[in-house]
């Protein structure tokens, strides 16, 4: 095992997303992992384009945005150090529904989607473990999104934006 992979191995082990996975699994996943760095303004992924990676943000802030020509980029969430980003790798067509843009220098560990899928196909048990964890992230995002949709702080005198 290369030094690089070994270091990533350790990183993954420390992150809550991978808690409970056996060392062998981590070693396997580390083989799909690499360190990445994004400068301010760079995209981690783009809407409707290939988004075939899982990111663990180690440093910096990433803005999740949808661009509107009329309104500019609408930021609906920001993720930062410690957050997990990118669950599209598990659902075909492995394409993202939004842009993810670095707001400052961002260092992340990314895990390659096709690599992880191969390993999950080979070992469905590992696939199940990753699926559980990805779904948890998705559920959290969805609940937060519900909230924002409610526009709770809207002044009742205003007409509602939705329904």
């Amino acid at each position: 095992m290369s030094t690089q992979v070994h270091a990533l191995d350790v990183l993954l082990k420390e992150h809550p997303f991978f808690h409970g996975l056996a060392p062998e699994d981590l070693e396997i996943l580390a083989g799909c992992a690499k360190n990445e760095r994004f400068e301010k303004g760079q995209f981690l992924y783009r809407e409707n384009q290939n988004a075939d990676r899982l990111f663990i943000i180690r440093q910096g802030t990433v803005s999740l945005e949808i661009y509107s020509a009329r309104r500019g980029a609408i930021v609906f969430q920001k993720v930062r150090e410690g957050d997990v980003l990118g669950t599209s790798w598990i659902v075909p067509p492995y394409v993202s529904g939004c842009d993810a843009r670095a707001l400052e220098t961002v260092r992340a560990v990314s895990l390659d989607g096709p690599c992880m899928r191969r390993k999950c196909d080979a070992d469905p048990r590992l696939g199940y473990e990753l699926l559980k964890r990805s779904v948890a992230v998705l559920v959290g995002r969805l609940e937060a999104a519900h909230f924002q949709l409610l526009d709770l702080y809207r002044n009742p005198l205003e007409r509602p934006r939705h329904g």
């Binding site: 609906f76 909230f147 702080y153």
Partner: protein, 288 residues
């Protein structure tokens, strides 16, 4: 429960709790597009009445109507009576038009307040949503006035958008004084907003406090309070260490008109601040 204190036969009738006192507007400040702060002084002279953080007054606009508004001022100083008001209806619109010299009727202060004293020795987490920051401001000011009595202090505040953030300058001062954590997030950002975007509940998992010795106080829309309380519980804060401030229709403010009932609780006199374990089940029920 008090013994019936009904006036004995033939004695002078008691003073009505519905009698208002005139207060003069001595300061008006626009906070956001639909929110403003009024500073009031008694028209009859004398200092403004003492109040506890979390209490409210019934404010009366002559000939228009009367509504409950939380006191948003500093309880540690005998300054003017301060109310931060959001324009949501006829009476608040009338109040919005007040200028210095204008007069409001005041009754109060009423209600049970936040457990600021009982939080001494613990970490304090204040979670505010929207206008909910106004009734919590007296908590922060009380805690900061005796900072050494408390552990870590964190304010988590969610607003609709950057333009809707209340008390901006004060928030900046609190944050930059290093002795409390201030996290502000908005539901939707704008082009210039550099801060957090997302619901305020997302700030709870990461906030710096020790769940085992924390007193949490939450105020905002009811949905937000429910979810924030659940996040705090998930993080290990005991249900009897979490407090919320609820709101219902009030006509009298003193437990006589029946309007503010939330289940068996009178929000005006049993609350508006409640310990979470007392209202958790009620909050989960519909149309109650």
């Amino acid at each position: 429960m008090a013994e019936p204190a009904i006036a004995a036969r033939g004695t002078v009738p008691p003073v009505s709790p519905m009698a208002i006192r005139p207060f003069v507007v001595c300061g008006v400040r626009r906070e956001t597009r639909d929110t403003f702060t009024l500073e009031l002084e008694s028209a009859e002279g004398g200092p403004a009445p003492r109040f506890l953080p979390g209490q409210f007054n019934m404010l009366y606009a002559f000939g228009v109507g009367e509504i409950p508004i939380s006191i948003s001022g500093d309880p540690t100083r005998r300054g003017p009576l301060t109310h931060t008001v959001r324009t949501v209806g006829v009476v608040t619109r009338a109040m919005e038009r007040l200028e210095p010299g204008g007069v409001l009727g005041v009754r109060g202060p009423y209600g049970e307040g936040w457990p600021v004293e009982d939080a001494a020795g613990a970490d304090v987490v204040v979670v505010a949503g929207g206008i909910g920051l106004a009734p919590l401001r007296p908590v922060v000011l009380s805690v900061l006035a005796e900072r050494e009595r408390y552990g870590r202090v964190a304010l988590l505040y969610g607003a609709r958008s950057p333009k809707d953030i209340l008390f901006r300058a004060e928030l900046r001062r609190w944050r930059s004084a290093f002795h409390m954590d201030v996290e502000v997030t908005v539901d939707r950002g704008d082009r210039t907003w550099r801060g957090d975007v997302g619901v305020v509940t997302r700030l709870v998992p990461r906030a710096p406090f020790d769940p085992a010795r924390t007193v949490a106080m939450i105020c905002g829309p009811e949905i937000m309070m429910r979810f924030a309380a659940q996040e705090l519980v998930r993080r290990g804060v005991a249900r009897d260490a979490i407090w919320v401030s609820t709101e219902r229709n009030m006509k009298c403010g003193v437990g006589l008109c029946g309007h503010c009932q939330h289940g068996p609780l009178f929000v005006c006199k049993d609350g508006p601040v409640f310990r979470y374990d007392r209202v958790e089940t009620l909050l989960s029920k519909r149309e109650i």
